[in-house]
Amino acid sequence: MTDYSSVIPAKAGIRGDEVPAAALDPRFRGNGGVIKTRSEPFLEEQAAPATKVRGYWESVFHRLRRDPVTLVFAVIVLLIVLAAICAPLIAPFDPYKESIVGRLKPLGWRGHPLGTDELGRDMLSRLIYGGRVSLLMGIVPVLIASLIGGMLGIAGGFIGGRTNTAVMRTMDVFYAFPSVLLAVAIAGAMGGGMANGMLALSLVFIPPMCRVAETATTQIRALDFIEAARASGARTTTIIRYHVLGNVLGPVFIYASSLVSVSILLASGLSFLGLGVRPPVPDWGLMLSTLRQSIYVVPFVCALPGLAIFITSICCNLVSDGLRAAMDVRM
C-alpha cells in the first residue's frame, strides 16, 4: 500500500462535552458560559400539535371534495362514459336500422327524441353508440402516448447530455408540424380506419408528452434528494422508480387528461375527413360530416354531434383543470 506518512498521520483529539466559555461565541452561551450539550435528543418537537396527517391521494380527494365545479363536470364525464359503455342497454333503437320514410325528421318525431339522420336512423341511439368510438379514440392514443412519450422523456431527462439532445430534437421535428396536419398526414399515408387513426393520434401526442415528462424529470434531477439517494448507493433504475416517477407522474397525468379532449376533437376531425372510422359505424365526427349537407333541412339535428363533441371535450378540460389544482401537494 502507498505510504501516506507525508500526509498528516492524524490523531484527532476529541473534545469534551463542556466547552469553555472563552472558546465560544456569546450567542451560544447558555448558563454560566457553559454550553449545555444534552446527551438525549430534545423533545420539544414532540409537543407539536398533532394535526391530522393525510396520505397523498387522501389529500387530493379531500381537496377535490371542496371543488363543486370539478365535481359537477366529473359527474357529466362519468355519465357520458357510462352511457357509452351501456349503449346497448339504454339506446332506444338500433343505430344501424335505416328507414326510407323517416329520413331527416326533426326532434321528437314518432318516438325519436332527437330526430333521425339522412338514412332515417335514430339520432339518440347513434349519438350514444358514437360516444363509444369517440371516447376510445380520445383515451387510447393518449394512454399510448403517455407511456411511450413519458418513458422517452424520463430517460432523456434523467440521462441528460447528448442522449437528451438526441431525443428532444427528434421530438422537435414532429413538433414542427401543426398537430391536425400531422394527424391527417399520418392517417392519410397509412389509410383510414380506426386502428390507423389511433396510431396517427398517438404519434401526434408523443412529442408534447415527452416534453412534459422531460421538463419535470430535468427539474427533479437537479434537486439534492436525487444526489442524496445516489450517495446512499441507489442505482439509477431504483432512483427513477422511487424518486423520479412519483414526481413526474403528476404533471404527466394532468397533461394527459387535458389531451383527452384534444384527441376526441382530432379523432372527430379525422372521421370528418374520412380518415377515421368508416361508415356506417356511428362516430360523432363522421356523423357531423355526413349530416352537414342537410344543415338547411333539420339544422338542430345536424348540430347535435358537434354539441356532443363540445360538451365532452369541455367537461374533460374542466375536470383536468380541477385535478391539476387538487394534485398540487403544496397547496
Binding site: 492524524a10 435528543p41 444526489e227
Partner: protein, 344 residues
Amino acid sequence: MSSLAYDPRDRGGPQQPMLIARDLRKHFPVKASGGKSVQAVDGVSFSVGKGETLGVVGESGCGKSTLARLMLHLIKPDAGELVFDGDPVGVAPGIPIDALRRQVQIVFQDSYSSLNPRMPVRDSVAFGPFVQGKRKDEARQVARDMLGKVGLDPEIFGPRYPHELSGGQKQRVNIARALATGPRMVILDEPVSALDKSIEAQVLNLLRALKRQLNLTYVFISHDLNVVRYISDRVLVMYLGRIVEFGPIDAIFERPLHPYTRALLASRPSMDPARRIELPPISGDPPNPIEPPSGCRFRTRCPFAEMVCETADPMLGPLQGPQSHVAACHMQEAHSGHSLAASA
C-alpha cells in the same frame, strides 16, 4: 481516542485516518470559453482523523461544496486519490465506491430540496437502508428509530410530507436520513446555513450529541466561522480551490497565519459595539476562478503582496502530527524572498 467504541468495520485502527485526500483536483469545463475551465478544487490534500470534526471554511465559490461531493465520488475527481480507512477508493485492491457510500453520508444545505416532496419523510429516511439491502419493514423500523434519535416523534412526523415541516424539522429529517444507513463518517455541507439562529444552535447541539452516541466522524463545511469554531476540532481554510491554512481550531482562531484567514476572522460581526468594524478587512470579489492569479491566488486582495507572491506559488508546509498548523503563504516560509518572511 479511547472514547471510540469498537467498530467491527474499523480496519486501520485509531491511528489510521478515516479519510485521506491526496491532491484532489476538479476543473469544470466552461462552454464558449475556448477550452478554459473553472478550477473548483485544485490540488487539495488533507486527512480526517477518526472521531474528529474537520471544519472547512471559505467564501462562496471557493470549492467547499465541490470538495464535499468529491469526497463521496458524487462527482469524479479529475486527478488525485481518496483513501478511506487505509483503502484507496475506487481502485482495484481498495474499497469500491458502493462500499464507500455505505460508510460515508452527506447532509446538504437546502433542507427542502434534499427531501422528495412526494414522499412522506419516514419513507425518505427508510430509502437508504432499503437500497442497501434491508427489507421494507426493517427499513421502516430503522427510520422510526432514527426520527426518534433526531428528536422527531415518528408517529407524528413520519407520515408528513416535507412541505408540512419547518426548516429545522426538515434538516433533522435530513440528518436522520443520512444516519439511517449507519455511516461512520458524515459530510455536512452547510447544514445550518439556511436555519435561523435559535434553530441553528439546536441542530448543532443535536449533531454533537449524535456524534458521541454513534461514534461519527464529521466533515463540517460552513462559511460561518462561529459555527465552525463551536463544532470543529481542526479547520481547513479554502480560497479559490486551494487550502490556504490548516490546523487545530484554537490555533487558527488565536494565531491565524495566513492573511486571508486573518481577514476572515476580522470580518466576523463583533458582539461588542466598542469594537465595531470600521473598515472592511478584505475588499472586492474573489478573482475569476477561470483565470486565477499567478503565484499566490490571494495576492490580488492581500495587503502584504510583494513581487515574490506574483511569481512563486506558496506551498502548504508539511504536516507533522494532528496538532500541526500550516499556511500556504510566503511570509511563513523562511527565505521565500518576502520581506516579512520568518527568518529561520
